[in-house]
Symmetry: C2
C-alpha cells in the first residue's frame, strides 16, 4: 500500500528482502558497467587494492535500488530520487554476501516548486548478514501528496 | 598510461567517449535493478512524474562509471571510489540521449592511514549532446603513489 506524504514521518524505519551476491553476478555487472580487473576475475584481483574479487560500488548501489523497489517503503508515485548525499562504501562486497536494507525517514517537507509533491529524505543503509553496514547514503525523494 | 599520484593535480580536466542511451537499454537495466513503471514502459510512464520512459538514476550512474573506466582519466591502480558526495540528477535521461563525461580534479592529498596511496577528489559531470549536465557528483578516489 503506497504511502502519501501525510503518512510519512521522520523516525519511521522500513526493512527489505535479502539479496545474495554471487561471483557470476559481480562479473556480469562489471563486464557491462565497470570492467576493471578486480571486478572481473578473482585471480586478477589478487594483489590489487581489493585483493580478491569485489563488487563494483555501482553494483552495490543497483542491488540497493532493487531492494528498495521491492521493499517495505512504498511512497506514493514511486521511488524517485532527486540525488544522493554522503554515499560511503565501508568495505568491498564479496561473493556470498547476503545484503538487506534499513531505510530510515530523516525529514519530510513540502515542495514550493511543485505543490502536488513533497520531499522525503531517507537514509538507506545496506547491511550484511551480520547487520554490519556495507554502504550508506541519504537521498531526497519526491513523494506525491495524494 | 596510468597516472600515479604525483602526476595528478587540481584543475586537470579529462574527457571520455560517448554513450548513446536506447529504450531497450533503459528497460533492460530497470528490469534487473529498478523495476518501476516509468523505467519499464513508455505508455505506463505517461502521467507519472516522468511523463514518458526515463532511465533509472542508477543506470545513469552505471553509464557514467563505464565512461570513466574507458575514458581519459586513468589513475594508477584503477578507479576506486571511497564514496560519492553531492550527486544530483538534473533531468531524466531519455532514449536517444548521447552522454559523455567531464572529469575535473578538485583535490589531491596523501592518505595517513595508507601511505602507499593518496586520495584524489574528482567532480564527474555527465553531459548530453548539447553539453548540458544531466548528472554530477564528486568522489574521493584511492590512487597509488607509484
Amino acid at each position: 500500500m503506497a504511502l502519501t506524504l501525510d503518512a510519512i514521518a521522520a523516525g519511521q524505519v522500513f526493512g527489505s528482502a535479502t539479496y545474495t551476491v554471487t561471483a557470476e553476478d559481480i562479473v556480469a555487472f562489471a563486464r557491462q558497467w565497470d570492467p576493471q580487473p578486480f571486478h572481473l576475475d578473482d585471480a586478477a584481483a589478487k594483489g590489487t587494492f581489493f585483493d580478491g574479487l569485489a563488487a563494483s560500488g555501482w553494483h552495490t548501489g543497483a542491488i540497493t535500488m532493487r531492494l528498495l523497489v521491492t521493499g517495505e517503503f512504498q511512497p506514493a508515485g514511486g521511488l524517485i530520487g532527486a540525488g544522493i548525499e554522503g554515499l560511503k562504501w565501508f568495505r568491498p562486497v564479496r561473493p556470498g554476501d547476503v545484503l538487506s536494507l534499513r531505510t530510515e525517514v530523516l525529514d519530510v517537507r513540502e515542495m514550493r516548486s511543485k505543490p502536488s509533491h513533497g520531499l522525503v529524505t531517507v537514509r538507506v543503509t545496506t547491511v550484511d548478514a551480520q547487520g554490519e553496514p556495507v554502504q550508506t547514503f541519504t537521498s531526497p525523494l519526491v513523494v506525491a501528496r495524494r
